[in-house]
Symmetry: D3
Subunit: 162 residues, 6 copies
């Protein structure tokens, strides 16, 4: 007797086959943010956070995070990234301060780098939380999303509004 456990093509997790896809230049650009109190904002911008210079550490963490994407996200294909960068800018609203994080990732490969860009931005935001949580555990990591991607058969993508 042999009983076959049926997992149809829809119900089963797998790393999708990209063997037939062409290697092309691909980029992705994602965004996240960290919303902090005035106290955290002032300590961050004055370099008075106990664990060290927050943005330097977060930038390194985000870049290393991009390289770990296929290790963290189960169905992601491993890719040889050819470039990773991050940028930051502060926005003030009343008594709330939002640090915007943008990530930029490039590769030459058979699939896109959207997940690498999103992971870089998320890890960067998590690192900022870590370094400031001794001051305020109420910090919120803001929405995280894809801004733009280029390359690949399915064409480019650009978010209309953030």
């Amino acid at each position: 007797m042999s009983e076959f456990t049926h997992f149809n093509a829809e119900g089963k997790a797998r790393m999708v086959d990209i063997s037939e896809k062409h290697e092309t230049a691909r980029t992705a650009h994602a965004a996240s943010s960290v919303i902090v109190s005035k106290e955290v904002y002032e300590k961050m911008t004055k370099g008075e956070v106990k664990k060290g210079d927050v943005l330097s550490v977060a930038q390194v963490a985000g870049i290393m995070g991009a390289k770990k994407t296929a290790d963290i996200i189960p169905m992601c294909h491993p890719l040889s990234l050819t470039g990773v960068d991050l940028s930051f800018h502060w926005e003030e609203r009343d008594d709330e301060y939002e640090l915007h994080i943008e990530s930029f990732v490039k590769t030459k490969g058979s699939t896109g780098v959207e997940m690498e860009a999103l992971t870089a931005a998320s890890v960067c935001a998590l690192t900022i939380y870590d370094m400031c949580k001794a001051i305020d555990k109420g910090i919120i990591i803001g929405p995280t999303y894809l801004m733009e991607k280029t390359g690949g058969k399915n064409g480019d993508y650009k978010r209309l509004k953030a």
Copy 2:
């Protein structure tokens, strides 16, 4: 001649010394979410996503992500987690569907597991994005924040409102 590059206690990144802190039971509970279109919601809940059963994979990813926290977040102390769990629930608003993700992490250690709970929730959300991005690249990972923590000298923390 010797020139000392000065990094004062504020300006330098370091893994803060917790040698003198006592080992106590600690928990943390964090939240994130994923905001999807009706099409993604229907495919997710009907199990029609091409890469497989989304929430099963995301749950595994989140738990494994919690264990990778000290490898991903530069200044985090390595901790032996004693329990990790995740839960999901859907909220519908007009034509938008938000999948709420909650993570629960426990340890017996000299520092808290806030970062492990936040990392579990973030990795879970990123995995959902990965598995659904072929349907819609516009999916947004919602705000990510600490809900509650217990244990440790500094006392408990509970967010007043989400």
Copy 3:
């Protein structure tokens, strides 16, 4: 005086040079199994295992394991896998139940993916053991072997009998 510690080409471990090999499409297909008692079989197939849905978790573990192969097996070359899948089927014999595991791995590279397929199948089997060991520590991971490989200068391989 200089004393040369001699390691000849036979006696020394190295990552063999594949620089001159061509990149071609390559596949590998491996098998393993888990032999369980009637009690474990019934709990697994009814979803009553305390740690969760066993095969979903094992499938994710196997796919992630394939990606970790070059990190686990010392002399393996790192490869960018282009596809990984696993399938399961149950075989009943008297009062013994064997869950057959098959793995399928693809790449476009200068060396084969036999180790990735074997590692996927092994990690999948180990994960099933882990999730069921609270019920029965006597579970046996069955023989693990290569079923087939294609691509590469040395030609294809197909096992005559399992």
Copy 4:
């Protein structure tokens, strides 16, 4: 409207909570094997395998594999291993040669090291396959199972027959 995706305690994967379990000395002892042809046996024992001294490399791989267990097996708790060892012995049967692998792992912790011992033995066997596959892809990794464990509330376990 809020629709709760129900995952009951049976159906959901989680890292089981061991916070209340006591730290005790724990050991585990597992076995695996590799079944090779006469040609592979002779090259292995004469040190003529192209990739290097097979058993030295396999021993290192197995020990490092034990340390990676919680990274490879999704629901495993991270543990600080206090000792890992492996031993080998050859058995000849007709024209078939079986290299028996035994692993021994120790910790002082809140859960057992069965998975670490099984992972050490599996990784050791996979490494032997890798180093000999240029000679013969038909090598079979034999059954892998727990021999014995000690420590913990549930008492000791000893396999009656291999």
Copy 5:
């Protein structure tokens, strides 16, 4: 017939059993350095290195490297580090500039953190090389050694001269 491959206690690699050792506070302090040309020194100290602020990145790399020690060094025991720090100072000699790196690591465990301190210093030096190699590939990583360790049954160690 059964042929036992003999590996005696001296000839075989293993992770030494530390189960009987007591958990005590332990520290280690190691040193390395990087010897650079005047051009590299000036670009480093003026922040004109193309890849970014060299010492910030090297500090993060060294701290993360300390946490990876048991993953990199085969026979090292995994340890929960309780603190890691690094410091730098420049020494000028004629037209050569030496950046001294010192690492400080703490734990409460059953074995020492000498390897973690040495790994932190080495990874820090390698990172500096990486970030400056576009200017000068001739940079030399200077001697790397243990300065001091405290804790453990075998007593403290202090290097008499560097």
Copy 6:
């Protein structure tokens, strides 16, 4: 109000964009060493070190270390190495013994493998320290540097003297 945190091209860490660089065959050759006392030399060469055969383990560690380079060195690009090898030779001077370590790494990629060769040599040296530190904590890891590299637009490099 929006305040832009300015990180100019010089002050910010990033993974440099190599998307436009051509894939070519590349090699790198680096050196390190370990300087030991007569006692350590004699135990190493007689195989009497308690943790096992030092050079076998160090060789495996160095090769695995080369594969981990992009995970350890923050701004390094991930590369698919096509070959890694290490060699050792002893030099005796008075009552001091220096074990010279040389590493050789190859790839076909868009950037060089200098860091992989340096990391292989460093990890190899650190592993030797680890395995001999029970005999003598005063062992010194000697200077570590690039010997030669070939391939890439910027041409070859060869160190004039060690």
